[in-house]
Each structure stands twice: as structure tokens, then as C-alpha cells.
């Protein structure tokens, strides 16, 4: 039995080494390509052949190592005794997140067929994606604080290089700048936190400090360090003030990078935050929980609002990631609230619900982003929702998979999204029992989750209907588009995603039991509480699976009766929907609802919170200009040009008090009076 940790530690290590070896092949292919111009024409052809061979060998090695790693991780996860750490910090917690990273990179791996020609961008993308995956895997397995943070910084830099591949696109350059600023700001926070850890644990500089030594820091320092670490990791984790780079970059980068960023990097950032939190063993209540809660709620609310108003599918998925990461951190904040009151049952429930949501989001978002990216590559146009349409007739399988991904993200039953959101809602409802100041926070959390769910229903039905259903709104460029879905790559690993989504949705109970091992690994005292929790939610979960069978039986019954009713009738399936005689086949724009008008009333309702600019058609003499249309542009809160001008930010408040506004003197004077009154009351109350 002493043998086992050895095996568990070395086998994954070997596979990671194999992965690194494969990345070396990719690196050599890249280097050859970089030095291509030096040779003569004839030699260039030979070298290109060599590059292609190296590229495919590297890809195949990577794929092989990832597949082996997946199998090993699964075996380790099920076979490892609970609460045991094997080798370099290989406990259930890191195994879980390594699993997510491995599945994400498997799904987003490019095809292993020998391509006919390779561009520089593909080679760069291949190598740096492999490097990013490698670094993320190592970060999760690192045992010392210094090593983890160094590897994280390298992964951040690798992400920067990944973004920089398509630097010729203007939108990506803006994203690059935002990423550089935000990521380096995050690094600043992390370095300061690291310095504080070293100082207050009296360690010599640059010696490795294991995670368990973090528990020995003084209490107030722990809170400050945790806050700094939280901001440092949140910068890469798509939370509200730090999300701008992701939103700008998703439409312009390759699908693989988007999937890696959204499903892998953001989750690893969350994992590192959790690991630091649990190593520190904070026992008393702290303000860190409230700060995380506030940022999470802001991410959820603003993320939902902006998801509704997007016109580009990639940007919509990016804002949806912002919203879902907000939900993740909300679960974490509820856990912190419960732990500050010592309410053990709620603590384990909250953290369990959060892990379930992590798994759900990683799988569903990876599927959605991959299909969106494949669609964009196949159609060779940006996926503007209002300009597409009728894709379901051209690419039936892609639209079915996309429907499954969307249904899962919307929280429909039979898919993982429903259980994930229901668990978090249950946690939020139970948090109402925590007592006085937390009741209000719990109610805000419930409403935030509900609004997020409803907004995702609105936005994903908009995306699906406007892109996949109906009739084409524009003529697609190539007249014979075949459904190139890279079956060999996609089917195997895509099936994995589908399996995960359906398994989590229909039989959640076994998966929850397995996830409990992670909680025990993080927090060994929770075994008793977990068995209590099991007694409470085991029966509901199993009854839920039973009720799903009842629904399925009802559905089958109805389908059979429908078949029986229509058994001897021939159904006319060639009727044309009434289109006011304009005939959808003509050049004229068909009379369909666009995505924007579908949600127009919702956007109008939330107008004050969205910074929108509506552009009406210009009038030329007495008629509107034929070429200009009504446009509604919704800009992100942080994209206000005024906010980006620092001097404007500083001077504006002063100007308010200097000038009386042009309209509304009376209201302004009353407002100043009320403000003075409130200040007086507050001073009076304080004294």
C-alpha cells in the first residue's frame, strides 16, 4: 500500500513529461517556421514538409498524453483514499481541477490530420496553447507557494502571447492592452501578497514555503493577504472590473484560445484562490467575504444585463462567462459567511454546490465556445446575431449540439445547469437562516441568481433563434458549405462533454458523492457534516432522478399517441410561412424578428443601467437615408470614454459643485438640502 502513492505520483508525471515532449516538437516546428525566409525557394518546400511532420507528431503526442492523463486522473480520483495527499500535492482537489483542464484542452485540440499548409498563426497557437496547458497543470500540482505563483505568472504571460498572435486585428490590440494592464495589476497584488507571506512567516527569501505554513500567519495579516490574493487571481478570472479584456478578445481569437481562457484559466484562478483560503484556515469572520460577495453580485447583475444586449455571439458568451464566474464566487462568498458563523452544514453544502457549478460551467461553456468557434471558421464571418439565420438547415448536427449547450447553460432540467443552479439556490435559501445581517445578503443573492437565470434564458433563446432558426438573413459566401465538424477530433471528446452534461443532469447523486471527496481533502473535519448533509439531500436527489423518468415516460406516451393519431395521414411539410407575399427566397430582407428587437422591451426596461446610444437614420431632404438604419449600441460600463480619461475623472466631481446644472434648478437645490440633512443626521447619530 505504500507503493500506491508512488505509482499515483509518477504516472501522471510521466504523462506530463510526454506532453512537454510533444510541446517541444511544436516549438521546433515554430522555430523552423520562423527561420523560413532565410532559405532558398526549393529548400523552403522541404522545410515546410518538415514543419508539417513535426507539427502533427507534436499534436499526436500531446493528444496521446492528454488522453492517458485523463484516464489516469479518473483512476486516481476514484482509487485514491480520501484525504490522502500523494506526491506533489495530488489530492482530490487538484485532481478535480486538473481533470477540468485536461478535458478542456482535449476538446479544444485541433485535428490530427496532416494539414496541407500551416500558417504562422496556427503554429504559434499550437505551441502556446500547449505551453499554457502545461503550465496550468503544473500550477495545480505545485506544492509550494513560490512555485505556484511563479508558474501562474508564466501562465499569464503565455496567455498574453496567445492573445498577441492575431495582433493585426484592431479589436484584438485593444484587448491586448487591457489584458496587459489587468494581468500585470493582478501580478502586482500577488507579488505584494507573496512578500507579506515571506516577511510574516520569517522565512528566508526564495526558499519554498509549503501551503500548510500559511496557517501560522497572524490573523489580521491573513485577511490582508487573502484580499490581495483574491484581487490578484480575480484579475484573470473574469470578474466584474477585470473582464474587459476577455469580452474584447473572444470574438477575435481562435476558438481554442477562448475555450482555454474561459474554461481552464478562470477555473484555475478560482482553484488557487480556494487553495490559499483553505491553507490559511481562517476561523473568524472577515470583511473579505463581504468584498467577494459585492464583486460577485456586481458581476452577476452587470454580466446578465450585458449578455442580453450583445449582438455578437462570442461577446455574448464572454459576458455569460462573467456572469457564471460571478455565480461561482457568490457560492464561495456564501461559504465564507457560513464559516464565519460556524454553521458547518451550510458550509459544506455551499462549497459542494460551488464545485458542482465549476464542473457544469467548464463542460457546457467549452462545448458552446467550441461550436461557436467552428461555426465562425466555417462561415468565415464574424457571428453577428442579426445577420445570420437558418443555420439549422445547413448544419443540423452543429445546431443540435449548440442547442444542448445552450439548454445546459440556461438551466433546463435533464442537463447539468439545472442541478448546479438549483443547488446554489438551495444554499442561498438556507443562508437566510443565518441571522440578522446575513438575511439581507441572502435575499440579494437569491434575486441575483434568479435574474441571472432569467437573463440567460432570454439571451440564449435570442442567440439560438436568430442564428440557427428561421430563414437566412444574408447570403452566405460560399455556396456549397459542407458541415466540416472535424468528426474525428470532435466526436470522441465532444461525446465526453455530452456524457458529462447529461450524467450531471440526470444522475447527479453519484457525482455529488464523488465531489464530496474534494471537500474532505480541503477540509478534513467535514466528514461528519457531510454524512449529515447526505442524509438531507440524498433522498431528494434520488427522487429527482425518479421524477425525470416519470417525465420521460409521459413524453414517450404523448409521442406514441401522436404517432397513432397521425398514422394514416400524410402531413404536408412543404407549406410556406405567410410572409406577406415577399417570398423568403428573394433578396429582400425577410420579415423576421432580429435578435435585438426580440429583447428590445427588456433592454428598454434596463436602459438606465446600460450605457446605450441609439442612432436614428439620417434624414436626407424629407426621406430617411436609404443606407442608414436605426442602431442601438450598448457599451460596457467601463468603456465610457470619459471613464478612461483620468483627468476627466478627477475634475468632473469638482465641476458639479461649481456649476449649477442647466436644467432643474429646483430639483437640484432640494437635492443639496436633502444631502446636507442626511450628513447632519449621520453626524448626529455617530456622536
Amino acid at each position: 500500500m505504500m507503493f500506491m502513492p508512488f505509482v499515483f505520483a509518477t504516472l501522471p508525471l510521466l504523462e506530463v513529461l510526454l506532453f512537454a515532449f510533444g510541446s517541444l516538437f511544436l516549438l521546433s516546428a515554430l522555430l523552423f517556421d520562423l527561420g523560413l525566409s532565410r532559405h532558398s525557394r526549393f529548400k523552403q518546400i522541404l522545410i515546410k514538409r518538415r514543419i508539417i511532420t513535426l507539427y502533427s507528431i507534436g499534436n499526436r503526442l500531446n493528444l496521446l498524453s492528454l488522453a492517458c492523463l485523463l484516464v489516469t486522473i479518473l483512476i486516481c480520483f476514484f482509487a485514491l483514499p480520501v484525504g490522502v495527499t500523494a506526491g506533489i500535492a495530488f489530492d482530490h482537489f487538484s485532481l478535480f481541477f486538473i481533470f477540468i483542464v485536461v478535458v478542456t484542452s482535449l476538446v479544444s485540440h485541433p485535428s490530427v490530420r496532416m494539414p496541407l499548409d500551416l500558417g504562422r498563426a496556427t503554429l504559434l497557437n499550437a505551441f502556446f496553447s500547449a505551453l499554457l496547458t502545461l503550465l496550468l497543470l503544473l500550477v495545480l500540482a505545485a506544492n509550494s507557494v513560490l512555485l505556484a505563483l511563479i508558474l501562474w505568472e508564466m501562465a499569464t504571460f503565455c496567455g498574453l502571447l496567445l492573445l498577441a498572435i492575431h495582433y493585426q486585428k484592431k479589436s484584438l490590440r485593444k484587448a491586448l492592452l487591457a489584458y496587459a494592464i489587468v494581468a500585470e495589476m493582478g501580478t502586482l497584488f500577488l507579488v505584494v501578497a507573496l512578500g507579506m507571506i515571506y516577511i510574516y512567516s520569517n522565512a528566508a527569501p526564495l526558499t519554498p514555503i509549503s501551503f500548510s505554513r500559511l496557517a501560522t500567519l497572524p490573523a489580521t495579516i491573513k485577511e490582508v493577504v487573502l484580499l490581495l490574493l483574491f484581487f490578484g487571481f480575480a484579475a484573470k478570472s473574469d470578474l466584474f472590473p477585470f473582464h474587459l479584456w476577455a469580452v474584447r478578445s473572444y470574438p477575435a481569437i481562435m476558438p481554442r484560445t477562448a475555450t482555454l481562457f474561459s474554461s481552464a484559466t478562470a477555473k484555475v484562478a478560482f482553484a488557487l484562490t480556494l487553495r490559499f483560503y483553505f491553507s490559511m484556515e481562517i476561523t473568524q469572520s472577515s470583511y473579505v467575504g463581504v468584498i467577494i460577495f459585492v464583486l460577485a453580485i456586481l458581476s452577476i447583475v452587470l454580466g446578465s444585463l450585458y449578455t442580453i444586449s450583445q449582438k455578437n455571439l462570442h461577446r455574448m458568451l464572454a459576458y455569460s462567462t462573467v456572469e457564471n464566474m460571478g455565480i461561482l464566487y457568490l457560492g464561495f462568498a456564501l461559504f465564507i459567511f457560513a464559516s464565519s458563523l460556524g454553521h458547518q452544514l451550510l458550509m459544506v453544502f455551499a462549497i459542494l454546490a460551488t464545485f458542482f457549478f465549476v464542473l457544469h460551467h467548464a463542460l457546457s461553456k467549452a462545448l458552446a465556445l467550441q461550436i461557436a468557434g467552428t461555426l465562425a471558421e466555417t462561415l468565415k464571418r464574424p457571428l453577428r446575431i442579426d445577420e445570420l439565420g437558418g443555420i439549422a438547415k445547413i448544419f443540423p448536427w452543429m445546431s443540435r449540439l449548440m442547442l444542448i449547450a445552450f439548454l445546459s447553460l440556461m438551466g433546463a432540467p435533464f442537463f447539468s445547469g439545472f442541478i448546479a443552479e438549483a443547488l446554489l439556490l438551495m444554499v442561498a435559501f438556507k443562508s437566510m437562516l443565518l441571522g440578522a445581517p446575513y438575511i439581507l445578503l441572502a435575499i440579494i443573492a437569491i434575486f441575483a441568481l434568479v435574474v441571472a437565470n432569467l437573463a440567460s434564458i432570454a439571451s440564449f433563446t435570442k442567440a439560438y433563434t436568430a442564428i440557427f432558426q428561421g430563414v437566412q438573413k444574408t447570403v452566405y459566401r460560399s455556396s456549397s458549405i459542407k458541415e466540416k465538424l472535424y468528426w474525428r477530433r470532435f466526436t470522441l471528446y465532444g461525446l465526453l462533454l455530452l456524457l458529462g452534461i447529461f450524467a450531471m443532469g440526470i444522475f447527479p447523486w453519484p457525482i455529488i458523492l464523488e465531489l464530496q471527496k474534494i471537500v474532505i481533502a480541503l477540509y478534513p473535519q467535514s466528514r461528519i457534516m457531510l454524512s449529515n448533509l447526505n442524509m438531507e439531500i440524498a433522498v431528494p436527489m434520488m427522487l429527482f432522478s425518479l421524477s425525470l423518468t416519470l417525465f420521460f415516460l409521459l413524453f414517450l406516451l404523448l409521442k406514441v399517441s401522436l404517432w397513432w393519431l397521425l398514422r394514416d395521414k400524410t402531413i404536408r411539410r412543404d407549406a410556406i410561412t405567410w410572409d406577406c407575399g415577399m417570398h423568403f427566397t428573394s433578396e429582400a430582407r425577410p420579415l423576421q424578428y432580429t435578435g435585438t428587437s426580440y429583447l428590445m422591451s427588456m433592454i428598454t426596461f434596463f436602459r438606465p443601467l446600460l450605457f446605450s446610444k441609439s442612432i436614428s437614420p439620417r434624414i436626407v431632404e424629407i426621406f430617411p437615408d436609404k443606407k442608414s438604419f436605426y442602431r442601438l449600441q450598448i457599451a460596457d460600463f467601463l468603456k465610457q470614454p470619459r471613464l478612461q480619461n483620468l483627468s476627466y475623472l478627477l475634475i468632473r466631481p469638482l465641476k458639479i459643485f461649481h456649476e449649477i446644472p442647466r436644467q432643474g434648478h429646483i430639483q437640484w437645490s432640494i437635492f443639496s438640502l436633502v444631502l446636507a440633512l442626511i450628513v447632519t443626521i449621520i453626524c448626529f447619530v455617530r456622536s
Partner: protein
């Protein structure tokens, strides 16, 4: 149905009229709402007071429920615009802000001020919300008539809060408040009429276009 139930019912009616006035766009129902609120406030303070002269509440009901609304409706008849066009803070947002403020006040008054208020924290909250609602209407709407209505609501709230803390309000004080209110509304009515004459609307933002006169 005891007196206490009627008391709580009246307080919730006052609260409902506050939140309703925040969402109203047409001016006639707004005036009728504030009339109802005035009557409800008078009857609430009737239930508070130890010594009940029925004369003064009767006068207050006449003034707040009949006279002042009649004055305002008369002014409204003379004025061109009968509804609030585009307020500074929208109607839905006003109601949501009102609910949020209500929660905060109830939480605060129950938590922190429980020693001061004993079991009257609910009436205190209702009074504070009424005052805040009146002030909000004055700040966030453009039409002058809505601002007069806001002033009336604020006055109702102040009266409610006063009745909460003083068990026996002296007769003279009540009478003085009432007279003050009546005169204020008459003056505001006259001014509204003059504004309407000059601008043919009662949009207060157009007052900014008045120019100073240096000579003559």
C-alpha cells in the same frame, strides 16, 4: 378586528399610497392618492392620541382630504399638461428604489433604534419612508404640480413622525401646521398658474430659460 389591527392596516395603507405615488404618471390620480394618504394619516394619529378632541381631526380631514385636493385639481384644470412626461428618475426605478429604501429603514430601525422606539419601529419606518418619498418626488420629477404633491406627502410624513413622539400634541401647534400647509398650497397654486401663463406648460426645467433684467 381590534384597534391595533386597524392601526397596522392604516399604516400599510399609507405605505402603499407612498409607493403608488412614486409610480404614477397621471396627475389627477396622484392628487387623489395624496388626499387618501392625508385622511389615513389623520386617522392614524387619531388612534395615537390620548385625549381625543374630534374637532381637530375633523378639520384636518376636511382640509387635507377635500380642500387642498380641490385647490390642486382646480389648478390642474387650468394647466395644459395632465401627466408627467419623462421624469428625471424613471417610474420603475423610483418604485424599486422606494422598496430598497423601505427595507433599509426597517432593518435599521429594528436593529439599531429598538431601544428608542420600543414597539413602534414600524410606524417610525413608515413615517421616514413617507418623508423620503415626498422629498424624492420633489427631486426627481419635472412638473411643478408633482413637486407640490411631494411637499404634501412630506408634510404627512412629518406629521406622522411628530404624532409618534409626542403623545399629546398641543391644539395650537396642530392648528398652526394646518394653516401653514393651507397657505403654502394656495401660494403654490397661484405660482403654478403664473408659470403656466408665461410658458404654457408647467415644466420647471423651462424656468432656466428666464433671463435676468439689468435695467429698467
Amino acid at each position: 378586528m381590534s384597534l391595533y389591527d386597524a392601526y397596522i392596516g392604516l399604516l400599510s395603507l399609507i405605505l402603499l399610497t407612498c409607493l403608488a405615488s412614486l409610480s404614477m404618471q397621471r396627475l389627477r390620480p396622484l392628487i387623489k392618492t395624496v388626499a387618501l394618504q392625508g385622511i389615513a394619516v389623520t386617522m392614524t394619529t387619531l388612534l395615537y392620541q390620548q385625549n381625543v378632541h374630534f374637532l381637530l381631526p375633523f378639520i384636518m380631514i376636511i382640509v387635507k382630504g377635500v380642500l387642498i385636493p380641490m385647490l390642486l385639481l382646480y389648478t390642474l384644470k387650468k394647466v395644459s399638461i395632465k401627466s408627467e412626461g419623462k421624469p428625471i428618475v424613471g417610474f420603475h426605478a423610483s418604485v424599486l428604489l422606494g422598496i430598497l429604501f423601505l427595507f433599509m429603514v426597517i432593518h435599521y430601525s429594528h436593529d439599531k433604534l429598538s431601544k428608542l422606539l420600543a414597539d413602534q419601529s414600524f410606524s417610525f419606518s413608515v413615517a421616514v419612508v413617507t418623508i423620503a418619498c415626498g422629498l424624492f418626488l420633489m427631486m426627481a420629477r419635472r412638473k411643478a404640480l408633482t413637486q407640490v404633491v411631494g411637499y404634501l406627502i412630506m408634510d404627512n410624513g412629518i406629521y406622522l413622525m411628530g404624532a409618534l413622539f409626542l403623545k399629546n400634541i398641543p391644539f395650537v401647534l396642530e392648528f398652526a401646521i394646518l394653516l401653514d400647509l393651507l397657505v403654502a398650497v394656495m401660494v403654490m397654486g397661484i405660482i403654478l398658474h403664473k408659470i403656466n401663463e408665461t410658458f404654457n406648460s408647467i415644466d420647471t426645467t423651462s424656468l432656466a430659460t428666464l433671463k435676468d433684467r439689468w435695467h429698467e
